[in-house]
Symmetry: D4
Subunit: 240 residues, 8 copies
């Protein structure tokens, strides 16, 4: 760890922004908005923009989004997926300011199929889809293709097979990723959701199903973590 | 899976309605209302009606129900059981439009005994009872017959024995289904409820009791899943 | 509870044999062999035979079975499913001794499809199948039809649809019953098994999957409880 | 805590024997044998005898019991309940050595009804029964009266009602104590056992059932803790 | 179960009031208010009064209490313990109406010591204390005597020892009942509370501590179940 | 326990204030505010002040703080960490009133490094830091040094190594304390936080990580218990 | 599902071999050996070979391996990782018999870095490594690089960064994958192991850590599932 | 991380020995023996000795110890605590070979009080005590001082108060550390053990009790982790 490396972050006191992350890991830092005050969130987003880093916020509440808008920022905010980003300047800076040592923005990556089992899983599926699109990846959406009516999935399987990666999102019983993995060749990233009641245990049931999938090629992320699935997919697409 | 089969659903983008389900499984798709926006719910219910399918919604909040009424629909909604259905046209369409390939509505099925241990279990018991009645099954209700005062149950056991199936609903200790199963010949479908506090763990205690029942003939559904118990009973009644 | 009813059991001190159970519930008492000494087990089986009751033992260890054989009894014992019964006399007695007040043995019931997801689930599937056959029910076996290779299940779905009831047995992810329930009209009794490792948690993962099944018509029994599924199926077949 | 009180134990280094316990709490210290080496156990039992204290060992393995016998001691040991005590001298010493300040041995206490649901619960029920008898309490045993055949329990309920306390032992679903508590006036001490498989979770299911009992008057002890139930009963009998 | 016994309840449809319970078990039915509508609760309380039964309600919300007052009833309601009872007439009826076959109200029972570890445990402790007082039992309260400052408990131990029974209430670590049980001769009823945060897991930590108490003579009730502890104590006091 | 010791607390009925604690354990009693009514809290704080004890309140809600201010008290209250203390008089009294038998306030203790993994962990980290400062310990704060950008931590490791103790606070994966412990010689007190979602299970994931740390020298406190970590650190600093 | 597809498996009765899987999903079926009798395992392996499919067995016990050797087969078996495969003929058949419609064996894929935290994690790491090598992928092993001595990992990070994918295996606290993911650009597949004791809970602690990783790009497989990680990596390498 | 630092370990392939750890963290690496083959263990111990590092092995089975003895090594091995170390040469090397840059062996540290609640907790208590003694710390043992007989603890509290740190070991209810922490000024390190049955859940009950301790100054380590408690104590003693 050289002294140079050690300085590659911005220190706000309550936060140390990892402005070096994209160069190091291929994707910039994302801001987990939950648990931060609106003021903290605003300062973090502005500082990243100031340093020429595009940054995405996840699990952003409507209140936080409103605070940022009220502060005069233009944002891209989706109330379903609760994904937020500041508009405009960052991509511009990015085009100009990126020197050789920095990572080029992914172009023409994908497509990635984002599938979900039910309509209630849509927020998590959209978090994944919008994160991918933020990073320039083409997304094919296939929603409400759960296994209770298998023909819905089978009618789309041709399209899904053409995707380089499948992100499969499901709550309740969580069987969708395993069924898909038995039908395609691409990696399947499984995202359990907290959708359900009773013994769904806020997503534990779906998570366990996915971890125990008999079908091969399934890997799993945290419950409701559409963002994490998208970033993992992005890394897979960038394998050289 | 033939091309014909593959098209047997309606695609709303955020939802793919399984209009073929009744022909395939004997009961139409039901709409799990929780986690859907009121707009999504309304569009789904209307589309099913448009296709001539009767459909039931479960776990429907008062807000969702009000939104649908405000949109001009006439509904049957029970605020205790949170079961919803659109009024009027579907049964009419059903009488006219059902061709040979579609399933005839169950007539004169039952009776099914729906028992619950305590008054607080009533919402789940009613979800089961009203689902059955929606599908034309006669229901005998026996509420508050929990085992703390066994004579209440025993005084009704004659009636219960005359039912073809027993749906036994209980929270807290969840012992009711096992006690009934030791006294009758019919299948007993056990429904744990999230009623209780402390170590009831929102229904886990009752669920475990039911899964471990020493008495034979008990099968179990998810916590608070009165709907699921009713549909399972309907399938049992339709065994040919 | 009349005095007459009160005497309808045999008291061995360490056990009170419910010789009245078949008249009351439609199926005789079964003996859960685990946790009993071989001597206790032998005395129980002999006493049931003496009273003219056919009785099945479950989870019977090889040691227990050997002890009973060594004591001079002829048994039917399957080391895979660990189901045991005494040979010969009971059915004979049954034919002769059964008066009007007793239940006639089920004849020509079924068929019931017993499906399992993997080869390792076979012991539990066989416990279900042999229990059904013990009670005179025809069984169609479909083993190793798990969802990782969906075409195996789909190639058998025609046969499965002809069964009056489906018992679906699965460990690991436990998705089989839900997939089947979306394709058939009959009741599906789901049996989770303790097959798997890591997060299968000795069957909890499969159990949760089954309880959260999006497909309708699924009810669930305890982990590894093939016997319980069979008895529940028997009650369903006897609905009058 | 006066200096005098502080010395009221025997220090063996690896163990400090609470020879004052009976005077303080009404029952002497018991030895939890599991996790002790045979040598430690032997030294503890001998030291208690030397001090004129009667002492009971619980969860004593056959190996431990044999070691003690081989060392020349005469013991009372039951391989089912795994309760052990040294024979002979202690009661003798007790009669002579007990001065006014010490507790008189309970005489003619009880009766306590010890009930269990199934034959496999017998070891725990016997641990309770033999502990009570060790302390001079009369015990009425009612074994295998589980709720799957309710008439077995009801036929004995008259006897059970005559007992001053009921200890109700059950594994699996654990419903027995709650059913009894609804039928009697005496306190019911519920003992869950680790009998069962799958979702019995080594007694957790039965424990939860008992803690959630709708019937009043039930208190609960640890899984398989027949000894603890007996001592609690003894304290109840000694209320003055 | 004779026909006469079978009729010993009042049927309100949504509830079957066990008016026979006091005669059968020594204490009348109590109403678990949570999960009942105010209307249901009111009808239940009035019906019990009409039948001359004194009845206690537990876990009664302020809203429920207000509804009942607004309906013209005079109540005794404690917002801390959430215990409710109707005023006035029941005791009067009780004096007149009780014939030989009914239970005489307990007189001069106790004292019972009700101890709690911290101030936050007070609601549960008061639920126990007020239930006991409702049934005529004298109560000695010892609050905030947790083990972090052992001298507070030890300074009261003389008073506690004079009580016939100890109810020990504690959240967080839940060690109080075990410490007390090692110092007294009376039965100790342990009540875990949901007080705490993090790994207190809403009372599970305290519950497990109590179930595993090394000290003898402890029995346990459900988390936050002060009522249950009181009724169990009442049964113990009535041992004849 | 001498009579003198027994009186070393103030009895408010609902609370027994352990005014002797500082002399006995080196730190005064702290008030866990959650679950207390504002009135109780006010009376407790005032009584401690009256007795010349400085006292800290934790988990104090804004409502409670406002009530105390409205009652005319001057307080030090931090809405992030929810730590409260009364201003002014106590330290003054402390200087005057402390006799030889009482503990001298810690002076020039520390420094202690308080590190946290993310911005959302700040409330817990501040609870620790402010508690330490309340007792006169110097604190070095290092916030947002989680392992996703290891260079942030490594750039501060020199400062951290100079601290006598490290308090490491983290939610989600909770790996920070283990990484630090492998790099420093001082004791590391790990504080899991409830920050995260899905499988963070309100801090259980972080707690388990910390308990299983491969690095040596880590001890752990309850989830979100910044206060407890601070007091433990204080005891370590006072080892003589 | 065409008739042709339906026949693409071999039916042994107790098993249906998915001989079509490689064509469909890119990797052939693997045999989960646990829970199969040696006879079943042998028949399955031979049948796959007969059909020209290379097949890998996982979790194969030494007893199973010996049975197969004793039956005259030549095997490749590693007692640490418990991976088994039949020697010789399959690769030969593969070269000759594979027509255009079948998948070509992966050649020169990788490298994949397989890292593990401690020596005890080696069996799982080897299961991953040997599975990859079986499918022709180059593997770089980096064992015992856990975070307690971070310099071990950092000294290897240059090599790890050159790998296309990282499989990171860890038990106990399971922090290794997250630390690596913060330092590299490639996808990180995390494999929790059951190594540890106490609160490692047979791998649950490590699993949760990995699912909650703050670092991006981590996906997770079942506890001890080195095989699953390898197959997922293989799919990632084959993205086209 | 400089190149020099990077080389500060010995690479055996299956293990990378952290020979720099003592210089970095104050205590040398310890070997967790479980899960290692005897051959691996022997090579690791020899390599450490070769490099002049004293090293301790924990959780070493009798089989492993015998293998090492059979290989010609002289060992110090305690079959109760399962702690192992090689005899002889290391201390010698240590005296000679340690230059200024290396840590001097702790001399005259302590005393540390190691207390345990019951005899069955002795193995864990001894693991702590022997680890401390290995590092030159004086230990005061107080065994079997559990709270069921509080006078045993109180009679020793004077000695315990003179210790600089208390390690309190307990299974079952785990209340000992909290009681001690309320009586002393020194830090209390709590070690839960897996001693107990039923709801002790292999130490979870004791762990939760300790994490929820109302008394201040308690920190906790993993279940059965006597070694970890000792190392944490050593770090505390070395605070400068």
């Amino acid at each position: 760890m050289t002294p140079k490396q050690k300085q590659k972050y911005e220190d706000l006191g309550f936060a140390k922004l990892d402005t070096d992350r994209e160069a190091r890991t291929g994707t910039g830092e994302a801001v987990y908005c939950a648990g931060k005050t609106p003021e903290q969130l605003l300062r973090i987003l502005r500082k990243f923009r100031e340093k020429g880093c595009r940054v995405l916020g996840t699990k952003c509440s409507a209140e936080q989004a409103k605070f940022i808008t009220d502060a005069g920022e233009q944002i891209r905010y989706d109330s379903i997926s609760r994904v937020i980003s500041l508009l405009g300047d960052a991509p511009a800076k990015q085009k100009r300011g990126r020197s050789a040592g920095k990572l080029k923005r992914a172009v023409n990556l994908g497509p990635v199929a984002v599938c979900c089992a039910g309509t209630a899983d849509l927020p998590v599926a959209e978090e994944a889809a919008q994160t991918l699109e933020f990073y320039g990846v083409k997304v094919n959406r296939h929603f409400d293709v759960g296994i209770a009516g298998l023909h819905r999935l089978l009618s789309k399987i041709g399209d899904i097979r053409k995707s380089k990666i499948v992100i499969a999102v499901a709550g309740m019983e969580g069987a969708l990723p395993g069924v898909i993995a038995g039908l395609v060749k691409s990696p399947v990233i499984a995202v359990p959701t907290s959708v359900g009641y009773g013994t769904s245990f806020d997503g534990i049931s779906a998570l366990l199903t996915m971890l125990n999938s008999c079908a091969e090629g399934v890997t799993v992320v945290n419950i409701d973590n559409g963002f994490g699935a998208a970033i993992a997919a992005l890394r897979m697409l960038q394998i050289k």
